[in-house]
């Protein structure tokens, strides 16, 4: 079965070969996906070669330690994985729409689909997207030149990419786990799934998880130690507060996942008995450990999106955020409470009613700080001059859909109801209802909001609106019917069903899935058109939305060193205040040399070694595992001998760039908010405080 050189890798590991041997519809779809990965990879290689982009890619991106570029790479990774996740979701909807007594997918293939869909959407879409936005925005908002540990930041990205690469490779080689995104043993133990599937899950999660823990450390230290002078904690934008909470969760909630996954690995590889049925193993402890991670994880995802919505709503209402302190307290209490509720994911496991009640009450309590936030956002909108730009459309969708999702969450926090709808589509509807409007809409709003800052041109407004409306409608048509189906008793994760009463709602959900796919298409088209029309959409002066925080006070895209001179912060929403007081856009008395870290290849080395290590472990290729692990450790140790890996940007160069930009600001017309989606918007906003505007009229 297993040999010394290739381990257990053989011809039948190739999903394309399996389709040739056994050409059923299900296998052909699997082979098609594998072909897509291979063709996509080849196309990327050919295009890069054709346009001679290898060198710039390596020099400007892959070896960069600039937090802005790393952030963009995270987001690009997330968008690619999002495409796969959405297609998988649509495929599952299609299967179930035709799933009355059958359908076209084999049960195992369907199980693989929901396992990869969940794993990808949580770990390789939501998490990298969030890490990307935080990486890009947070240092700019606190007035820092870079993250506290730029090289470690690159290594985090490398490890996240490793996890994503392993999941993609599983389409071509072997198969993925069929145990769902939570991968519960004993079903994922060696007895039931001896193949490579659960091993892919384990190593993708463990390696990416280490990267996420390191990111959390990096974010926390950056906020604690790298804030600009005057940027007290209570002057930080709400987004930065949410980043603190998220990084706390990253640091403290990822360890349970690492522990659970490594214990499962010990069971599978070394015949341990942590979670086995026999010899004193206790599979319930896996469930416990997994959700010790899993629940804080959903708050890890949604809290920064609350932060994004806070920024978006405040900016597009032209008002400071309402109830800043209550927002801070609410965010912190959600972060701490998120560690106290994990049992509500397994009310039915068999513990006593009093434990269930305790965790049920704790779960319902989270609705209180969340409610405070919703009211604060509403109060921020109240009497603001609201502009319905694309991020605000997402925010509106978020308001009405997320509240529905939150309320069904309160329902599910009641153990009695949870027993009734346990393992039904009601649950699927609930968590999609919080994660899509909460997390994905938030991230897409953030993508629209900060894209002009990152690239110097706005995204096309019309296609953006189409995408946002399609997302909202698509979500509603896909997932609201699932509530009904769940209440009718349709179990989740079932490839087929036998009750014809489920059929109409299934078709409705399929229609919704089609809308979501077209929303994704609109986002792709929008990006393409925006790049083509980048000259009309250009906002090089850096402040297209009349922004309020420091990231808008610098050019778009910002220089590598972010701030020519570190800002002196005097107030909350400092840039808005500076514009009001006339402090903005002033040339500093003198410029100083800036020292920045050099590029390094260590992140890529870690990424390649870790990917090989993961593959070697999945396919039992022990020599490769040892070799790649040793190479990684040696590279990391070797790297520590390279000291003084920094270069100096001379003051004269900085002064020239900054003065040129200030001159353009001086010359540029300032646009008011009615024209912000117009070509005339070059990124300099007319100062319009609500009170003063009314006085002027």
């Amino acid at each position: 079965m297993s040999n010394a050189i290739l381990g257990r890798l053989d011809l039948s590991s190739l999903s394309i070969w399996r389709a040739i041997e056994n050409p059923t519809g299900s296998e052909l779809i699997g082979a098609g996906a594998a072909m897509l990965v291979i063709v996509g990879g080849l196309a990327a290689v050919i295009l890069l070669t054709w346009f001679r982009l290898w060198k710039p890619l390596w020099r400007d991106w892959l070896t960069s330690v600039d937090h802005k570029r790393i952030g963009i790479m995270y987001c690009a990774l997330a968008l690619i994985m999002l495409a796969r996740g959405v297609i998988e979701g649509a495929l599952m909807r299609t299967q179930q729409a035709f799933g009355l007594h059958g359908g076209f997918l084999a049960p195992d293939h369907f199980s693989e689909l929901f396992s990869t869909h969940g794993t990808i959407m949580i770990f390789f879409v939501a998490m990298p997207f969030i890490a990307g936005v935080i990486n890009y925005v947070m240092p700019l908002q606190i007035g820092a030149r870079d993250m506290a540990f730029p090289v470690m930041n690159q290594i985090s990205l490398g490890l996240t990419a490793t996890g994503a690469a392993l999941v993609m490779i599983s389409l071509v080689l072997g198969e993925f786990s069929t145990g769902g995104w939570a991968n519960y043993p004993p079903y994922t133990g060696g007895d039931f799934q001896p193949g490579p599937g659960p091993d892919y899950w384990i190593w993708a999660i463990v390696l990416a998880g280490i990267g996420t823990t390191l990111s959390g450390i990096n974010f926390a230290v950056t906020i604690y130690k790298e804030r600009a002078p005057g940027m007290d904690f209570l002057r930080m934008p709400i987004f930065c507060w949410t980043v603190i909470c998220t990084s706390i969760i990253m640091v403290f909630a990822l360890p349970p996942l690492t522990v659970a996954a490594l214990m499962l690995a010990a069971d599978r590889y070394l015949d341990f008995h942590f979670f086995t049925n026999d010899l004193g193993g206790n599979m319930m402890n896996y469930v416990n450990l997994f959700w010790l991670f899993g629940h804080p994880e959903v708050y890890l995802l949604v809290i920064p999106c609350y932060g994004i919505f806070s920024e978006v709503i405040s900016t597009f209402s032209g008002k400071r955020i309402y109830g800043y302190m209550s927002m801070v307290y609410a965010t912190m209490s959600i972060a701490v409470l998120s560690f106290c509720v994990w049992l509500h994911h397994f009310f039915t496991m068999g513990q006593s009613a009093s434990i269930n009640v305790a965790f049920g009450i704790a779960s319902m309590a989270i609705a209180v700080p969340t409610g405070i936030k919703v009211y604060n956002w509403m109060a921020t909108l109240f009497r603001g001059r609201v502009r319905m730009t694309v991020p605000m459309i997402y925010a509106t969708g978020f308001f009405y859909l997320f509240v529905v999702g939150g309320l069904t969450g309160v329902m599910l926090a009641n153990p009695v109801i949870s027993f009734q709808v346990h393992n039904t589509l009601f649950l699927v509807a609930h968590f999609h209802n919080v994660i899509i409007p909460g997390v994905l809409f938030g991230l897409l709003a953030g993508y629209h909001y900060w894209f002009p800052k990152a690239f110097g041109f706005r995204l096309h407004e019309g296609w953006g609106r189409a995408a946002a409306l399609l997302w909202i409608a698509g979500f509603s048509f896909t997932f609201l019917p699932l509530y009904w189906l769940g209440l009718q008793g349709m179990p989740r994760r079932s490839v087929t069903f036998s009750d014809p009463a489920f059929q109409p709602m299934m078709w409705l959900a399929l229609f919704g899935a089609a809308l979501i796919v077209s929303a994704l298409g609109c986002i792709a088209v929008q990006l393409w058109i925006s790049i083509r029309k980048r000259d009309q959409l250009a906002v090089p002066l850096g402040d297209p939305w009349n922004g309020r925080s420091l990231e808008w006070s610098i050019p778009a895209p910002p220089p590598a060193y972010n701030f020519a001179v570190l800002p002196q912060v005097c107030a909350r929403d400092d840039f808005a205040e500076a514009k009001a007081d006339g402090r903005a856009y002033r040339a500093p008395g003198q410029y100083e040399d800036i020292e920045m870290p050099d590029n390094t290849a260590i992140g890529m080395i870690v990424c390649v070694c870790a990917t090989l290590l993961g593959l070697a472990l999945v396919f039992w290729i022990w020599w490769l595992a040892i070799l790649s692990f040793a190479a990684m450790i040696l590279a990391l140790i070797g790297r520590t001998f390279r000291v003084n890996a920094r270069h100096v940007i001379p003051a004269a160069e900085i002064a020239a760039e900054h003065r040129a930009w200030l001159a353009r600001i001086e010359a540029a017309p300032a646009v008011d908010r009615l024209e912000e989606t117009h070509e005339r918007n070059l990124g300099r906003a007319v100062l319009e405080q609500p009170g003063r505007l009314e006085a002027a009229q």
């Binding site: 403290f252 049992l343 068999g350």
Partner: protein, 101 residues
Amino acid sequence: MTDPDHRSEARLYLAGFGLALTLTLIPFGLVHWRLMQGRALAITIAVLAVAQIVVHLRFFLHINLSRQKREDLQLILFTVLLLAIMAFGTLWIMGNLATRM
């Protein structure tokens, strides 16, 4: 204000070492010579262990209560809080399950 000299700092390390040594010898002695039993022994061992951890934190890791920068202490206390929630929650849930099986 001057920094303490090497001698006095080394003495602090030795004091920590002495305390830790004592707090190690007692529980080992109790178990080895079977001087106590059952619950009382378990509680004694736990108290001595916590005391020794505090000694290590104070004398080797230099965490104390009188400092301008308090982030370290906050961080440790916060971690202990979360760890207590997670570890005791785990023991509570799994213990309860075990009694009901």
